[in-house]
């Protein structure tokens, strides 16, 4: 099943000129987990983690998560 929620964290990191390693250190998760999050290979993000990312990157959840529905898919 294709997930319609796309993580655009890499775009936000590029805008803030921040490396994954620095983000990982500042929000207190491993670099591997940041990498997994960036690639969208996770089932979910805790509100706590989302809050820390938004705080460090000074952005809104909508800036790092995007809903891209499949045109042919219906509920």
């Amino acid at each position: 099943m294709t997930v319609a929620i796309v993580v655009t964290l890499d775009v936000m990191l590029a805008r803030r000129k921040m490396r994954s390693k620095e983000l990982a250190e500042r929000i207190g998760i491993t670099e591997v987990n940041v990498s997994l999050l960036k690639s969208g290979r996770v089932k979910g993000v805790r509100f706590e983690t989302l809050e820390k990312i938004c705080k460090v990157l000074d952005c809104q959840p909508g800036d790092i998560l995007e809903y891209r529905p499949d045109p042919g898919e219906s509920l």
């Binding site: 998760i29 997994l36 999050l37 996770v42 089932k43 979910g44 993000v45 805790r46 983690t49």
Partner: protein, 181 residues
């Protein structure tokens, strides 16, 4: 009682339980073979397996071999369950708690207990027929009964089966949780 106050899995205890389960499974099978093979012990095991404590029994070479085969197969079910339990305790001892195998091994042990409980009255009846069969008069005793022991073992088997399913569900939840950052 708070969840946090529940102590973690005791690894030393698990290692000991794994060793005990392994030794017990082998002892059951080896002990049964020895009982049927040593002539002085055969009557005792035949009476015990058939629950024919006072009736006249006939131990012929055929009875000995068939008795050995039937009881070994029957005890083999329990030994299989105990070996599953041994593997389960080995996994727990190295910290593999929420892995797919633990639920499967628990369910296997539950199934073994349930099968053992269901087989016990059947094997006892078959053994009664076998050991009381008079080769001259061609007469034999047939008895059938269910002990409270078998009921308790069956209930424990069902309980462990249910816990195996709960464990499999908990493992799935733990897997999902690991994928949430």
């Amino acid at each position: 009682m708070e969840v946090n106050s529940i102590p973690p899995v005791n690894k030393g205890l698990c290692r000991g339980a794994a060793a005990l389960a392994g030794v017990t499974s082998i002892a059951f099978i080896a002990g049964n073979v020895a009982m049927w093979m040593v002539p002085e012990w055969t009557e005792m095991v035949a009476r015990d397996a058939s629950n024919m404590q006072t009736q006249r029994i006939f131990i012929t070479p055929l009875v000995r071999w068939v008795g050995l085969g039937v009881t070994t197969l029957y005890l083999g079910v329990l030994a299989w369950g105990l070996l599953s339990m041994r593997t389960l305790f080995q996994r727990l001892a190295v910290g593999d708690v929420f892995v797919a195998e633990t639920g499967m091994l628990l369910r296997r042990f539950g199934k073994a207990l349930l099968a053992y409980a269901a087989l016990t009255p059947v094997v006892r009846s078959a053994m009664a027929l076998l050991v009381t069969h008079d080769p001259v008069a061609h007469e034999a005793f047939l008895s059938f009964g269910i002990d409270d022991y078998e009921i308790i073992v069956a209930l424990i088997g069902v309980l462990i089966l249910a816990f195996g399913s709960v464990m499999a569900d908990a493992t799935r939840i733990a897997d999902e949780s690991r994928e949430i950052i």
